[in-house]
């Protein structure tokens, strides 16, 4: 059997095995792949760096567990970056399948375990940062686009209580934020269409600057909004997450220590993805070489 026959008839299970092995190995032994920061990611970092202490970021958890490995590190990196710079965060969730769970999971991963109803309000990871004063989680609200539009009028009517069912007026931060005018920008960690709504409704109609962290599959579509200026920054997939994470980790030692404690973070995921991308690329090239050689042989036989 020559090369052409071998590559043409390759059993797909060999490919599955190769992808499986090369996905697992970098997770166990991180490769530390270099990351080149793109302008779309740099602009989010620069924007956060340019904010004054005390300013507020709205973080919307618009994704579920299926895209968690891509979206979780984006949310975490931004939360850590914001708290490291003494900025304040209002988190909420608009995605029905797990947005609320992803939100609380990532918040607690970044700030440590919280139990506001029983008085555990202070972050263990960021000492001095208090739930309700420096960050707050409003939980999930159904309604998508209608909810977003309504939030411009009065957030308190849309989210009368936080994740733990405490009235939002009882916390300093959530009491202060009544509409989009009270926040500096919104960051939607998105899968599907909700990130688009932030751009074409909240940014286009209400003028709030919007940044989006989306899955790699959605990134090509989001580039149209980024280029049109409807979002000032875009984190596309694990690569975007790894770029932003790298910027934060290089400049904030506490964030670096906390991130590297985790079993999975964007840089590790990027190692895996780079290796698997390389395998796919090699096989696409091999497949095409075999195809072209086969076509030439067929033509010569005619």
């Amino acid at each position: 059997m020559n090369f052409m026959d071998w590559i043409t008839n390759l059993d797909r299970r060999w490919l599955y095995l190769l992808v499986g092995v090369f996905a697992i190995v970098p997770l166990i032994f991180p490769l530390g792949m270099p990351v080149n920061v793109s302008p779309a990611v740099q602009s989010l970092y620069d924007h956060v760096e340019g904010m004054n202490p005390g300013e507020i970021i709205m973080v919307s958890m618009d994704y579920g567990p299926s895209t968690g490995p891509e979206n979780d590190p984006m949310a975490c990196a931004l939360i850590r970056h914001a708290l490291s710079r003494d900025l304040r965060i209002v988190m909420l969730a608009l995605y029905p399948i797990g947005g609320v769970n992803e939100g609380i999971q990532e918040l607690q991963r970044c700030v440590g375990d919280l139990d506001p109803p029983n008085g555990v309000l202070e972050s263990t990871k960021f000492p001095g940062k208090i739930y309700g004063k420096d960050f707050v989680y409003l939980g999930y609200k159904d309604g998508g686009l209608a909810t977003m539009r309504q939030m411009n009028e009065n957030i308190h009517e849309v989210f009368p209580s936080d994740y733990w069912q405490t009235p939002v007026t009882e916390y300093e931060l959530s009491n202060e934020v009544q509409g989009y005018d009270d926040v500096n920008f919104a960051f939607s960690v998105a899968t599907g269409i909700i990130g688009e709504w932030w751009a074409n409704t909240v940014n286009a109609q209400f003028g709030l600057p919007v940044a989006v962290g989306c899955t790699a599959v959605s990134a090509p579509k989001y580039f149209a909004y980024y280029n049109a200026g409807q979002m000032f920054a875009l984190l596309g997939g694990l690569k975007g997450a790894a770029e932003y994470e790298r910027l934060v980790l290089d400049n904030y030692p506490q964030a670096k220590a906390d991130t590297e404690e985790q079993v999975f973070y964007a840089a590790k995921g990027w190692d895996v993805q780079s290796v698997v991308y390389s395998i796919i690329t090699i096989f696409i090239i091999l497949g095409n070489v075999a195809y072209l050689l086969e076509r030439r042989r067929t033509r010569m036989q005619l």
Binding site: S66, G98, P220, Y277, N288
Partner: protein
């Protein structure tokens, strides 16, 4: 007659209000207030749509089970999962109401446990499997069979290699080429799709508002 005309009229008014409110009112206007109320209703109604969805899932799957249609066993699993998750969710919701603490533990424990221990890993697994299928499909189907496929292949190669850190060390111009593809041809095509879809949505909205499109009432064309 009224069965058709009243819903169409209500639909027309409900559709007109946000348009007028957006273009011709300012905060505090009566129309703006009315629109805000309408949007609040929309949030509430969308909650009821979930209930409608649940009823529909039950109807479809119960029929499947009673007819022993293909995949009827899966329908049992689906309904069982729906009932169990729904029950835990409702127990938690009720447990937070005064006097109802006995029905469950506040803090969504059962619901969260199932979500974190079963649903989340299952969803992650389903999504992870894509990596294997994409690898296999790309290898088998991504061939330069004609000019269009060749161009697509070339663009994909540039983008995939342009984000590979080791390739970039050897070919440092590739990230710039990748950015050009993403910001140029890709964004232009995406913009075309987005604008086309928006125009389609706008024209469909107009057809519904003007009563030309009535299929949402369960009516056929001409009825």
């Amino acid at each position: 007659m009224l069965k058709k005309k009243i819903p169409v009229l209500l639909c027309f008014l409900a559709g007109l209000l946000p348009i007028i409110s957006f273009f011709f009112t300012s905060p505090g206007d009566g129309l703006r207030e009315a629109n805000d109320t309408l949007e609040q209703w929309l949030v509430v109604v969308s909650g009821f749509a979930l209930l409608l969805g649940v009823i529909s899932v039950f109807q479809v799957n119960l029929r499947k089970i009673s007819n022993r249609s293909k995949g009827w066993v899966n329908a049992i699993y689906l309904l069982a999962s729906l009932v169990i998750m729904g029950a835990f969710g409702l127990m938690d919701a009720f447990s937070e109401m005064p006097g109802w603490g006995w029905v469950g533990t506040s803090g969504n424990t059962g619901f969260n446990w199932i979500f974190d221990a079963i649903f989340q890993p299952l969803q992650s697994t389903m999504f992870s499997l894509l990596a294997f299928y994409v690898a296999s499909a790309a290898f088998r189907a991504f061939r330069a069979r004609n000019l269009e496929a060749g161009l697509l292949l070339a663009a994909a190669m540039v983008v995939m290699l342009g984000i590979n850190p080791y390739v970039v060390k050897v070919l440092p111009f590739l990230p710039e080429w990748t950015r050009w593809i993403m910001n140029g041809p890709n964004a232009a095509a995406q913009r075309g799709i987005i604008i086309g879809a928006a125009l389609g949505a706008a024209s469909m909205t107009l057809r519904i508002l003007l009563g030309i499109e009535r299929s949402w009432l369960g009516l056929q064309e001409g009825e």
